[in-house]
Amino acid sequence: MAGILDVPKSRINCSMLSQHISRPVCFVGRVEKVHPTGKTFTVSDGEGKVATVELNDPLEEELSGIVEVIGMVSNKGGIIATTYNLLREDKGLFDLELYNEALKVIHDFPQHYPFEVASSG
């Protein structure tokens, strides 16, 4: 697991999955359906589009709410998750649509929000 945590993980939504095949990503979305086996679940992004997340270890409990998934994008456009965490909403609901707009902003201005570390002098 350590490997993927030490590299840049682009924040993306469903529309950007195809441009990130085989690359590490961070996907924030709302849990839609959990497969009975617990090995996969679907998430929706701020635009309402849906992606599939595959887990190495099946879920041991029900998952719901807003989840932040870190993993690699598969050839099929799904996410093979290395780790995930739920975003708490006890002190305020997470605005997924607004997050989606912020995604567009950071991808429009990569010079001001880089997902890479340039070698420093």
Binding site: C26, G92, P114, F115, E116, S119, G121
Partner: protein, 276 residues
């Protein structure tokens, strides 16, 4: 008499004048006056990748054109290590490998143990960027757990906005408050509506300590070539979006600060700066 509902600026006119505190024009840097210590006049939202990529000259760091000393980052704690004198976190904001964050603890304070945050906590870190033996870290004066996760979103937007605005050349806002043409192209009216022609909200980001209205008034006064200067009436005509009261308040303030002076009568002003 005066506009009660609007805008409370510092000077009121008449016999009563009020300057904003002891330092009249905060942070007005005239071609780089160097003080002994780093002039950390701003705290800048950043990404870990920007901090790791920042160039370094002596004690000063730069992200592109933007000087950074005090910074904020928002990320998730990946590991925690507590020692007698400090707490070390690794904070991951997805833009690169997790950043080392060190927070000194007060060993006499009994509540210290309860403030150590576990991995998996999303936090906002405020502190100073440091480099020691080529190793970058942030020495934090605040590590605050996020309660509303929308702060993740707001930080992303603040990073882009701060670096975009601070990257522009050190010029005043142009007359009428329009953006300088050197700004990187903006294409989203929906989100960035405020960044277009009407970008008058740059109060905190203006380089000279003046508000947007004061800047607009000053720009117009500066740009007037006539020896007798420009009149209040002309200013009102050219700045149709600003009320006469506010223009008068701005003129009063600028005059008290020494940016402008009256000429043929109390209604005509010229700028004290010679920048023709």
């Amino acid at each position: 008499m005066w506009n009660q509902g609007g805008y409370s600026e510092s000077s009121m006119g008449g016999g009563y004048t009020q300057s904003p505190g002891g330092f009249a024009s905060p942070a007005l840097s005239q071609g780089g006056e160097k003080k002994g210590r780093t002039r950390a006049t701003q705290i800048i939202p950043c990404t870990v990748s920007q901090l790791m990529s920042a160039s370094q000259a002596d004690e000063a760091f730069k992200v592109g054109d933007v000087e950074v000393a005090q910074v904020t980052i928002v990320g998730i704690i990946r590991s925690t290590d507590k020692s007698m004198t400090n707490i070390q976190y690794k904070v991951d904001d997805m833009t690169g490998a997790p950043m080392d964050v060190k927070q000194w603890v007060d060993t006499e304070d009994p509540s210290v143990d309860s403030t150590v945050l576990p991995p998996g906590t999303y936090v906002k870190v405020s502190g100073n960027l440091r480099s020691f033996q080529n190793h970058r870290s942030v020495v934090a004066f605040s590590v605050r757990p996020l309660e509303d996760m929308n702060e993740i979103t707001s930080h992303m937007l603040e990073v882009v906005q701060a670096h975009m605005v601070l990257s522009k050349p050190q010029t005043m806002l142009g007359a009428g408050g329009g953006m300088s043409s050197n700004i990187t192209p903006v294409s989203r009216p929906g989100i960035m509506g405020g960044m277009g022609g009407g970008y008058a909200g740059a109060n905190d980001m203006a380089n000279n300590g003046l508000s947007a209205n004061q800047n607009q008034v000053l720009s117009l006064i500066r740009s007037c070539p006539d020896p007798q200067g420009i009149s209040i009436q002309d200013l009102k005509q050219r700045l149709s979006g600003i009320s006469l009261t506010i223009i008068k308040q701005a003129v009063e303030f600028l005059s008290n600060e020494g940016h402008i002076f009256s000429t043929i009568d109390e209604d005509h002003f010229k700028s004290t700066d010679n920048d023709d």
